[in-house]
Symmetry: C2
Subunit: 314 residues, 2 copies
Amino acid sequence: MKCEQDFVNFLEKLKSYNSSIIKGIGDDCSVLKFSNKSKYVFTTDTSLLGPHFTRDYSPEDIGYKCLATNISDIAAMGCEPLYAMYALTLPKMSESWLKRFYKGSQRLLKKHKISIVGGDTTKGPLSITIQMIGIQKHRILMRSGAKLGDDIYVSGTIGNARAALLSRKNPTSFNYFKKYLINPTPRVNLGLEISKFASSCIDISDGLAKDLKNIVTSSNKGFKVDIDKIPLRTKFNQYISNKNIEECILGGGEDYELCFTASKKNINNINDISNRLKIKITKIGCITSEGYNYYKDGKAYKVKTKGYDHFRNK
Amino acid sequence: MKCEQDFVNFLEKLKSYNSSIIKGIGDDCSVLKFSNKSKYVFTTDTSLLGPHFTRDYSPEDIGYKCLATNISDIAAMGCEPLYAMYALTLPKMSESWLKRFYKGSQRLLKKHKISIVGGDTTKGPLSITIQMIGIQKHRILMRSGAKLGDDIYVSGTIGNARAALLSRKNPTSFNYFKKYLINPTPRVNLGLEISKFASSCIDISDGLAKDLKNIVTSSNKGFKVDIDKIPLRTKFNQYISNKNIEECILGGGEDYELCFTASKKNINNINDISNRLKIKITKIGCITSEGYNYYKDGKAYKVKTKGYDHFRNK
């Protein structure tokens, strides 16, 4: 669930009529309290031909990816996904397309035991809006909890989705990166584990630079990040030219890895989770009192990329 | 929340992983149980340029109508709307458009005390998907509870939205009908009142004939309806030609009135509710064991219209 800042500013002015809203606009999910026991998180994401998938995606790929992006929002809140509702706008009603679309979704529905509880169908240009509901298991992670001196971590490797997009004309390179673009893995188990202690979390969907900024803006802090520490796949530098590296690892969105902050005392715990879940977790910097400070080769580095903006990027 | 039958059939085959799902696919809303106390209802609806609004709708009109259709789904379940999430696909991000769009929504948000709890923005052809969450107050109404011998009622007057569409070239006639097309009134209070005793309910969004069929198919029954009893606005016959009447009152969707069934003993109660809420409620027929039987001028009448189908209608 990502709104451009204009829309967030706009929505934040709206009146809330209900005291059970723990968090409304401005995080990966909204948080609602339905009973004394548990809080639930809600997210909605639209996937369109163009910004989210291209004509060469199979119906299976579309079914997988538009569900994965919603699950990733739930993972970023440290919660467990439960229910999905599908609002499909389709150029025509094709049972075979739906079957293949669903087959792509099914891998994730099964893995995470998510039930589809409703839907709406409309005729028009292909567009898929999924609403997802998740439940709190431990603590709920927000963007706003980062504390001065906390370490900043990212899961997996960064920049692969944008690297795939930039490699479309080079089959060897594209093959090396494409599964990260087309079949990203939402980090649900990791989100649940770190929710026990992390101070803030976001999923990297609009590019690390923009998402880091989201964390520190919400937390009223700054950051210091060592670009050399951002984890890349082994052959990343072999396929991506120097001039495109920054765009891939800081600007490129759609990584769907988690970026989170935690106090220094959790280092052993984090190593243990990394070993247990077999997910690389890398410290890339720390929370400061203000500013967005990047370092490269030990020197301050000025970042040019702004991250993905639906209304400004092509 | 309306899916074409192909999609309903498809979704119904899906595995449910959660025992708190009271009703999944196939009603105006799905029903989920979050605590021992209350059940919640969920719906999602997409509104598009073309099938749902045209270029002459103002942003205020669009903001009003796409929210009204979602509220109407909650009303049809006899529940109270609580929260909305907006997934907006916009050709460009315009603050003034958003302000006007929201101004149109605001009338309904304020009237029903609905809080917007989340959103997503994407660049693309104008499309608005709203998800809405409502709460059970008394009983939850479904399509499936109609009993043999129950009376069939509709609220308000029928056929006005389609009459407006057919009158676009005749300003006097269009003015007479247009508010029913552009600013329909979701029947929340009526839904809450009848939820205490009604046996089934649906909102008339795809045309009375199709929605009546939905009730009796879900209830495994039939119906007998007297077309002459279907309530029309005073000047309806003055503006709509004989050949179009059936299409307006049985085929035309978007009335957003409630069609419900109740046992005969509730007649006084229904009259009392009608007086109290100042909403016309008319008995138009009764539930039979099978068949879709219409009468006109005391004789059996064969209905030609099939109701609105997003993938078959123009």
